[in-house]
Symmetry: C2
Subunit: 274 residues, 2 copies
Amino acid sequence: MFNKVVIIGTGLIGGSLGLALKKKQLAGQVIGLSRKKANANLAKKCKAIDIVGKSLEVVNNADLIILATPVDIILEIAPKIAKKIKSSCLVIDVGSSKEMIVTSLDKIIPNFVGCHPLAGSEKRGAANIQPDIFCGCTCIITPSAKTKQLALNKIKLFWKKIGSKVVVLSPKKHDQALAVTSHLPHALAFALISSVPEQFLGLSAGGLKDITRIASSDPGLWSQIFLSNRSNLLSAFSSLQNKINALKIAIKNKNKKLLTKILAASKNKREKLG
Amino acid sequence: MFNKVVIIGTGLIGGSLGLALKKKQLAGQVIGLSRKKANANLAKKCKAIDIVGKSLEVVNNADLIILATPVDIILEIAPKIAKKIKSSCLVIDVGSSKEMIVTSLDKIIPNFVGCHPLAGSEKRGAANIQPDIFCGCTCIITPSAKTKQLALNKIKLFWKKIGSKVVVLSPKKHDQALAVTSHLPHALAFALISSVPEQFLGLSAGGLKDITRIASSDPGLWSQIFLSNRSNLLSAFSSLQNKINALKIAIKNKNKKLLTKILAASKNKREKLG
């Protein structure tokens, strides 16, 4: 499908994409680059990449470039590679927020397609590379008015070939949705665990563990994501606040009937998640 | 250890306690009672109880009574059994809040010991009975000034024999701790899922699923728990609110350094949970 593929950022997502590309025989050669030399070496050891790239010069002649670094680094690297790539080169990113990235990269890269595979975990780095994390996952592709149809089709096919279900959304809609389904839950998990007094940590069961699992996520990565989707995230906080207030009022007023009704509606919605 | 044991409420916790008692050969005979006939019959089929009791009269001559119903039903049933039991009969409950129950039951039952095994899940009922849920779990025992030492010692031993780690706390301290480690997380899970617009549910990954798993919990059971620990829960909401506000301010001000610092402290605390 692609002759030369360059993955910039060989962590959990980038490295796992390398493995998937190679497993499905979609790439002639996969070159990996990482700010952390050890991460790229580990990715090579896992056979997620064939070669560890020495500098951004390797993007020369690439057919597909995958930007799999944190959001701020994607924005930093894109202008650097824009002048080095051939005009037919497809470039995708896998960042967790899309509007800022798509707006920015659309201007400088002719065949850019924004992507966000809803895979990954609270664990980062090449040590957590897995070949099958995209299998069965939803990948949101976020074309803009500038996206070329041929590029879009090829990228759709690429995600389908590695087993993902493709959903197409505008970058704006993506960011609205993910603010609610991912960014707010992460922010909340961080806030919740910090509100638990240290001496009470041992007096907890599975509920607290599950609800705060994602508070083990990487602070630098997530502060970037929160800031790159700032206004949607702040709106999501407001919606949540309304729901919290409704619960608090029912509790304050000892209104068992209303409280049970609110909880039942939540349970009902939760069950749709599977 | 006990000749005749009566379990009132043969759901997940009551039924699993029956199984554990029988597995460890701690009871001569286990009688189970449930408001839902099917639940008691299923518990019997699972061999969690020997006999399905027909009425509260079965508490006559019992050596141990386990109150394993929702909090409000515990408060309703206790006065009814108080007059029927022999004075040496040990009575425990397994309710999720303790101050209200201990204060109330201490007055009418001579050998009452409040307990709260930190086991269970969002699933309820005899269909989810498991023999080993207490193995390795923490059981909080909440004696008061009125609790008899002999009764306390025997109940401690009972929980240890079925594999639990015993922690002794005052009912007040228990309720403060659990408001934060259990009741608030549950309330929050219910609020969070209700703030997710229906059309975005499909655009989520494992994070949202995990963080809202406990929003599948039983609405009637949890509205009772929230109301029975009302003031501690409202305080816990306030502490959380402060943490949410700190995050929101850092996001509003685009203060990446502060935001990363807050998230790093949360991650650090979360990692202590294991």
